[in-house]
Structures are given as C-alpha cells and as structure tokens.
C-alpha cells in the first residue's frame, strides 16, 4: 500500500498546477477570511450636519446636555464625517462618500429642552439615505436605529434624572431657580411635620378636621413620591432581561468561522483529490493491471483514503496557520483539533473514493464532488429554528450522512474547550468512514 501512496504523492508532485492550488488555496482562504474576521467591526460612514448653535447647553432640571455630547453619542456606533450644511451632507450620500446623512436641525436644543416642560415637542432629526442599494439600505437602517437608540437613551436618562430632582425638591424641599430668582420650596415632608406640630394647638372642630386632611395628604404624597424615582428609572429601561443559557455552551463566533472555513477547505480538497485519483486509476488503465495479482481492491482503496487524509490534513494545517495570524488559535489544543482534522479528512476521503469509484471518470467524479459537497455542506449550516419541523428533519438526516457537520462539530470542539463535545463527532466520522469505505469497495467491483 505504501508504494501506491508514494506513487500518488509523486503524481501529485508532478502536477504543478494542482500542487500550487493545494498550497495557495488554503493561504488565500486564510487571508480572505482572516481579513474579513479582523475587519468585521468597521463602521458605517455617516455624514453629520449639526445646525444647533455651537456649545449650546441644554439644561433641564439641573441636568446639562450639550450638543457635542449628543454628537458623540450619535457617532458612537458609526463613523461620522462632519458636513457644513444639509446640501453638503446630501451630496456626500449621493457621491457614495457616506452611506447616510444625519441632520440635527437648529431647533433641536429648544425641542430637547421642551421635553422637560408642560408642552413637550420631541426633536426631529433628518436622515438621508441612498435608496439604490437594497442590501446596504438594510444595513444602514440597522446602524441608524442603533445610533438613535444610543442618543435617545442618553436623553431619556438625563430627563428622568431631571424629573427626579424636581420630585426630590417637592418631596424634601430646597432652592429653585426661577427666572433668575432663588425661591425656597418647603417640600411635602417638612409641610407634614409643621402641620403635625400645629394640629394639637387647633381647637376641635371644622378647622382641625381640615388640618387633619391636609396632614393625611402630605403623608400620602410623601410616601408615594418616594416610589416615583425608581419608576422614572424604569421608564428609561422598560424591560430588563436576565439571560439564562441552557445546554452546551456555544463556541465563539470566531471559532465557528474558523471551523466552517477549515471544514469547507478540507472537504473540497479531500473529496476532489480522492475522487479524481480513484477515477484516474481507471483512466490510466492501471486498475486492472494492479488488481491482476499485485494488490487487492481494498488495498487500493486504503491507499486512496490515506492519500486524502495526509494531503487534506496538511492543507488544513496550512489554512489554520494562516488564520492564526489574524485570529487566536489555541495551539495548546492542537492534539484535539488535529484529531478532528485527521478523522474529518478520512471521512471525506472515503466519501471521495465512493464518488470516484461510482463515477469512473475524472471529469464526472470532479463534477459530482462539487455538485454534492457544496449544497450539502451549506444545508448543514442552516439553523434548526429557521425551517419547519419536516425540513429540519430532512436537513438533520442529510447532515448526518455527510461528513461536513460532524467535521465542523469536531473542529469547533477541538479548537475551543467550550465548544461541542469532540468525541461524539469523532465517532460519527469513524462510522461514516467505514460506511463510505464499504460503498467505495462495492463500487470498485464494477470499476
């Protein structure tokens, strides 16, 4: 068997294009995915025109919010480009320099201040987007929503804090600045205390009864306004969620992305190589000669699976090394993810052997490998809750009989301690290797 494996590696070495692809493919994929993963946080560019008077302070209830603070809050989730007018902001969007423009009108400050008055007029900001790109519009909408959410949260917090100060003044008393004059506010607590002191001195009768009612009101008001503070805080964050996770801890997004990338590379390289190599034995007319007393069909099959396992693992190692430049890969867990790579490569090789033996021609084997691998692997990535129960069952079945999903699970389990269990997918891959190996052996009978 070793001579057959050595022969296949010699043939591989003699094909410069194939060899170059095997080396360049994982490097290229590693670069593309690595860049994509590290530049994922790049922000949407938004043109911002602030028409509010410079350094205008927006005070309400003793709380101060200035224009720059609102701008900073708006630009927390996006990359803001300053514009000097609404027209300039619009041009930036039209020219593609910005995906959207936000205009803060001149009266924004007045309107924000009015939120703390008896006649609130909510501020209205203008958002200008380019409607020609549906996908980009959706992304921009999400970014703008997030951006406004940040600004609204800031204002709501400041408004509630201002309202709480007013409530404290009514409750506990203090100084109030009204049109430049300091006014002393007694407060409900002190009012009740004063009234309780006076009450015994008032002769029984109608006046005393009225006084008792005033004391009762002051007491009730004091008790109830005490609850207003937490209530106002609750309004700014109406729903608070406590996240409880059950079941296995999911791997990080980075680990999952590395697993998917490596799984795809391993699948394509191994299945295509082995399927083509098996079919080549027939195209070179060597199969009959080999099996005429020199080696058995099973030995040829074992050599092909060995070839795919060696080459597939090597290619995946190059890919992981490339990805390791961009994202953290736990090299300390290498024994685990190497196991995943080897078993995954073996299962894909067995599948490739079955395809090559069934197709019997290199072109047909290659075409079948692409046509089967790609859709089945993509199907394995469809989340369970994204489809109905019947389709979910069908997808689970397809995922179970193809090595991609268990390879992905084994890889993520091997790459990250918090990933799925490693051993169950490995067992799954062993079973698939045996089953596909048996199918390939059957197909070789009529090769």
């Amino acid at each position: 068997m070793r001579w057959l494996l050595q022969k296949d590696l010699q043939i591989l070495r003699r094909s410069p294009l194939q060899l170059a692809l095997l080396v360049l493919y994982p490097i290229l994929i590693a670069l593309l995915v690595g860049f994509a993963m590290t530049r994922g946080g790049e922000q949407t560019r938004v043109a911002l025109y602030n028409a509010m008077p410079p350094s205008e302070s927006l005070g309400f209830g003793g709380e101060e919010v200035d224009g720059n603070e609102i701008r900073d809050q708006l630009c927390d989730r996006v990359d803001c480009i300053e514009a000097n007018s609404t027209a300039e902001a619009t041009e930036m969007v039209e020219a593609g320099e910005a995906t959207a423009a936000v205009v803060l009108p001149e009266d924004t400050g007045d309107r924000i201040r009015s939120l703390a008055s008896l006649n609130p007029e909510p501020p209205v900001i203008q958002i200008i987007v380019n409607g020609s790109d549906t996908v980009e519009n959706q992304v921009t909408d999400d970014r703008i929503d997030a951006m406004l959410g940040e600004a609204n949260l800031l204002l709501a917090q400041r408004l509630s804090e201002g309202a709480k100060q007013y409530l404290d003044l009514i409750l506990k008393g203090g100084e109030l600045d009204l049109l430049g004059q300091e006014i002393e506010v007694l407060g409900l607590t002190k009012s009740e205390q004063i009234l309780r002191k006076i009450e015994p001195k008032v002769p029984p009768g109608t006046d005393r009864e009225e006084l008792k009612r005033a004391i009762t009101f002051a007491g009730l008001a004091t008790d109830n306004l005490d609850l207003a503070g937490p209530l106002l805080t609750a309004i700014t964050q109406p729903i608070q969620a406590e996240k409880i996770e059950v079941g296995d801890e999911a791997p990080s997004l980075d680990t999952f992305a590395i697993g998917v990338t490596t799984g795809f590379a391993l699948m394509f390289v191994t299945v295509l190589l082995v399927a083509g190599s098996v079919a080549l034995e027939r195209e070179e007319n060597a199969f009959t000669r080999l099996t005429a007393g020199l080696v058995s069909r099973s030995q040829i099959l074992a050599a092909k699976i060995g070839l795919g396992t060696v080459v597939g693992t090597a290619v995946a190692l190059i890919l992981l090394s490339g990805l390791g430049i961009f994202v953290g890969i736990e090299w300390g867990r290498a024994p685990y993810w190497l196991l995943a790579l080897v078993f995954g490569a073996a299962a894909f090789s067995a599948g490739g052997s079955a395809l090559g033996a069934a197709a019997r021609e290199v072109r047909a084997a290659t075409l079948a490998a692409v046509m089967i691998c790609l859709p089945v692997a993509l199907l394995s990535l469809v989340p369970d809750d994204a489809v109905g129960p019947a389709i979910e069952t069908a997808i689970s079945l397809v995922s179970a009989i193809f090595p991609f999903r268990p390879t992905l699970d084994a890889l993520t389990g091997g790459l990250e301690l918090s990933g799925p269990s490693l051993w169950l997918p490995l067992l799954h891959l062993i079973i698939l290797t045996v089953v596909y190996g048996a199918l390939a052996r059957l197909a070789l009978r009529r090769f």
């Binding site: 001579w3 057959l4 050595q6 022969k7 010699q10 043939i11 003699r14 094909s15 070179e284 007319n285 060597a286 009959t288 000669r289 080999l290 099996t291 005429a292 007393g293 020199l294 080696v295």
Partner: protein
C-alpha cells in the same frame, strides 16, 4: 485444421523456423464460456499455446478476443470451463502506465508491487535496470511516460508484464496506433522474448501482422472458435471458394462462408 489436442509450434532460432512438438501446453483453456448481461461472449471455447509458441487471435469486433485473453490472464472468471497454466502475464491493449511518472518510476512501482506480492525475488532496483536494458529505454529512463511515443510506451507496458518472468505473455492488440517502424521495433522486442522460450498469444485486427509473426492462428467469431491452424491452412479452407493468396481475403471469405 490440425487434429484436436495436438500442438505444433515453430520456434525461431537464428532466423530459421524449426518445428518442435510440445509435450505439455504452457497455457490451456477447456470449454470456456462467459456471458455479460445475458449476452454470450464466449461459448465453450478451447484454446492452448505451447512453450515458446506464438499464437494470433483474430476475429471481427465483439468476437470475444479480449474476453478470452482476460480469462486466460485470470483477470476475469469464466462462467464455466477450466483454465490451466502458470506464469501468465497480461499486457492490456492501452498502456497501463502512469503518464506523469517517469519510465523508471513506473517500472520501480510495479517491480516493488511484484516483489511485495511474492511474484519475484529479484530486488526491485535490479529489475528496473534489467527492464530498462531489455526495452532499450535506458536513455529515457527519467522522462515522463506521457512524453514517450506510442511504441515506446508499449515497450514499457510489455516490460512491466515481463517482470515476474512469465512463461506465457498475453498481448491485447499490442500494435494498435503504432506506425510501421514502431511496430517493427515492437515485434523485434517481442520475438526476442520468444527466442528466450516465452510463449506469446496476441489479438489483432491486422491479418498481415498475424501471418507475419504468429505460428498459429485462432479465429473467433461470435464467441466461438471457428478456426485453429496455420495461415496456409486458413487459405486452403477457402481455396475452393475462389479466394486468392491474400490471407485477409481468405479470412473474409472464410467468415462469409460460415455466415459471420
């Protein structure tokens, strides 16, 4: 036709033909039948080749030549009948070689496999050098097989068949696609082996080639052996029908007379 069971062959010694009677055939098939998907490819065919004899298998397409050769080589099993013989090597019609590997690498691969399979005790490297000398391809040992001419590829193809030192060599249409010069070199090589005592059976559509190189001709038609004898005997079979001295015309007339 010669009497059944008798085996005559001519051994070429220093350019002369010498008639020798064989005691035991080197390879014999008795009542061999084979069907594919209900279609009979061979129906009870007898065949034998004596030591050092050269036999040509001729017949129309689909006559069963390749099927008989593959059964004689042990590559496929007959549905019924027996095959007796040892040390049989088979050389397929198309070169069964890896085109991206060099001549030496191809020879070394098969030498190692033959050695590991216990078919030869000769060291693989020694055998490669011997085969390179035998084929006359030492100068091109490190060239990829895909760059060789059809004739040279066929020489490597035959050399691999000879590695285990077979007593019988089965060649399936060995000269297909070769020009006359390549064909002559190939036959010079094969007849050299015959001179060393190797029996050769080859299939061909070239009647002239069969007459030139074979001592005995076996004609297959629709899975049956319809003639077994020398070229002259084949001619005499149809002389009454008005055939000329041309063996190809005699062969065609022979088939026509028997409804093939």
């Amino acid at each position: 036709m010669p009497p059944a069971g008798a085996s005559f062959f001519r051994r070429r010694v220093q350019g002369n033909l010498l008639k020798v009677k064989s005691q035991e055939p080197a390879l014999a098939a008795r009542e061999v039948s084979k069907s594919f998907d209900g279609r009979e490819a061979l129906g009870g065919v007898d065949f034998e080749v004596g030591p050092g004899e050269v036999v040509a298998l001729i017949g129309p397409n689909g006559a069963g030549k390749t099927t008989l050769l593959s059964i004689l080589a042990g590559i496929s099993k007959p549905d019924s009948g027996q095959v007796e013989g040892h040390g049989v090597a088979w050389v397929p019609q198309q070169a069964a070689l890896y085109r991206r590997l060099t001549v030496r690498e191809n020879l070394l691969l098969f030498a190692r496999l033959q050695h590991d399979a216990g078919l030869t005790s000769e060291a693989p490297q020694t055998m490669v050098e011997r085969m390179l000398g035998l084929t006359g391809l030492s100068a091109r040992a490190d060239d990829p097989v895909g760059t060789l001419s059809g004739g040279n590829q066929q020489r490597v193809n035959i050399a691999i068949g000879l590695m285990a030192g077979p007593s019988v060599l089965l060649l399936d249409e060995p000269s297909v696609g070769l020009d006359p010069a390549q064909r002559e070199r190939l036959w010079s090589f094969v007849l050299g082996l015959v001179g060393d005592g190797t029996s050769v059976t080859f299939s061909t559509h070239d009647i002239g080639e069969a007459e030139r190189y074979a001592e005995r001709i076996v004609v297959l038609a629709e899975g049956e052996r319809v003639f077994n004898g020398t070229a002259d005997e084949l001619r005499s079979e149809v002389e009454a029908g008005g055939a000329t001295g041309d063996l190809e015309s005699s062969f065609l007339a022979f088939l026509r007379e028997r409804g093939h």
